[in-house]
Subunit: 313 residues, 2 copies
């Protein structure tokens, strides 16, 4: 099953993630069959697609063809035989996903890869009632919004076939995405864990009055984030060690350990209402004065430019 | 003391950080008096300046004037009376810095701000022998390389005067930098702590075989890092909560806590030789095949482009 053979994609659920996937699939010239039971879902999707088409990097479809390849259906069952891949974006509820995947597995041809956008539920928990071919089911977790951010976390469950992991990566890569393989299911996968690590320390520093919320964010956007947009923690460490990660660990490891020990001592208590209320107050001193709509618009402009600049290096 | 009155800067130490500061100061049209006792320091500095001049964003000095404003001296003492600000970049040794700062404090006019680039030593520890005016001493910790990355962490010690904190921020801002104020001395300041938080979890995920070193880095450069180059953790959370940080905390706080609890359970042991050796091995599977020199060059190209793109939003 080569990714190039994927011509028709089924999208289940057109909330913010499903709509963004749909925009990407259409822009890349694929035929997309979409379903969502929410009232007004079809017109909301059309609005989203019109609004976001221009921002998608390296489009293949012309604006005319873009929407022609879309079919919105009330019931996807009659179309399951036409699909080459399903991208599921339903609610993050275990009972719902268990029923949905059992149904999809029973009614979709066996060679069809079924990917879930789930950010929270590992697929091993919701393939339990799949009796036909659970090995073609995996997580393809995008980073919001999928039509802009290249990262996709591909997470197999213990019985997913290697060929399907490879096929999923090839498919996402053919769309210009950067898939990574999470080899063992782990809560939060990778990106959300790294993000949580930063948030926890950020909350502690703001709560303790070491730095304002605004300056904390600036530490990221004017420093760390710029670096991390080019090199991840491992390469950054390796460059810091003159190209040698071991050299970095030997020389800067002890300093790193002393900071981590201090951070451990001053951990923010996520379970404490008082700490949370104090933190919220300190954050609001800044965020309540920010024009959020403008920030969101600026972010999309920035990301579009950054992602096209990246592809030139 | 207004930052605009700063025309002549003294730079002590021209290692990688001092040389980069010097390049920036010169590019912004300042007169710079530099000293470094290391053999060959002067010619190494000239080489660095020639190599890095072009990359500096928003230069004021012409290439001709750039080097004319530089004076390299064996002994800076006779020049201390001419300086408006000192940026110190000496070795990170407490005894050395204690002696140096006592000497500078005793021989530099009282209105002159003295900033240390120290990343590790809080200034309260090395101003102990300053008998004249310790209140004009603080940390101005840049993010490497200072001539490119905008972040500067300004860290007063408990007796630093507020006016000097303000003046330092104004001075760095006048150079196109983005200073943040670290209100209380804390090990690693802000950026290194946030970085350590990410590294610790990254090491654990790689060590445990959840993800390869290369894919771990891609999670950052194709996802998180792109987002963080625009918005820090606080604004990212707030945008995730529809513009409301409190809403984010109430709805996604429990998930965040569950990931943090799992991370705590699987912490990488920075003190274990076995864990470190395993980690190094897994990192080397990737890094030993990377062209480090090319990566460094690409990084500088990328950063220069990104930083100029940022200033347009």
């Amino acid at each position: 099953m080569a990714s190039t053979s994927i011509k028709t994609v089924g999208v289940i659920g057109t909330g913010i993630i499903g709509a963004s996937w749909t925009a990407l699939f259409l822009a890349k010239g694929l035929r997309v069959i979409v379903t969502d039971p929410a009232p007004g879902a079809e017109s909301k999707l059309h609005e989203y697609l019109k609004k976001n088409y221009l921002a998608i990097p390296n489009k293949i479809a012309t604006p005319e063809k873009y929407l022609k390849n879309l079919t919105f259906v009330k019931d996807i069952d009659p179309y399951l035989g036409e699909l080459d891949l399903i991208q599921e974006n339903g609610p993050e509820r275990l009972d719902f996903k268990r029923r949905l995947f059992a149904h999809l597995d029973a009614h979709t041809p066996e060679h069809v890869l079924i990917a879930s956008s789930s950010s929270g539920l590992p697929s091993s928990e919701f393939v339990t009632d799949c009796e036909r071919k659970a090995s073609r089911i995996l997580i393809g977790h995008p980073f919001n919004p999928p039509h802009l951010i290249p990262l996709v976390e591909v997470v197999p469950h213990p019985k997913t076939g290697d060929a399907y992991v490879t096929a999923a990566c090839e498919f996402y890569r053919s769309l210009g995405k950067d898939p990574v393989v999470v080899k063992k299911e782990t809560p939060g996968f990778i990106a959300n864990r790294l993000q949580a690590a930063v948030c926890a320390e950020a909350y502690s520093l703001i709560f303790r009055g070491i730095i304002s919320a605004e300056d904390l964010d600036k530490t990221m956007t004017s420093g760390l984030g710029l670096r991390w947009a080019f090199s991840g923690p491992v390469m950054t460490n390796s460059l810091g060690g003159g190209g040698d990660f071991g050299h970095f660990m030997d020389h800067l490891g002890p300093a790193l350990k002393s900071w981590l020990d201090d951070m451990q001592k001053h951990q923010f208590d996520m379970g404490s209402m008082t700490e949370k209320e104090t933190l919220k107050g300190k954050v609001d001193e800044w965020v309540s004065h920010v024009d959020i709509e403008k920030t969101e618009k600026d972010r999309d402009t920035f990301l579009t430019g950054l992602i096209s600049a990246r592809s030139e290096i």
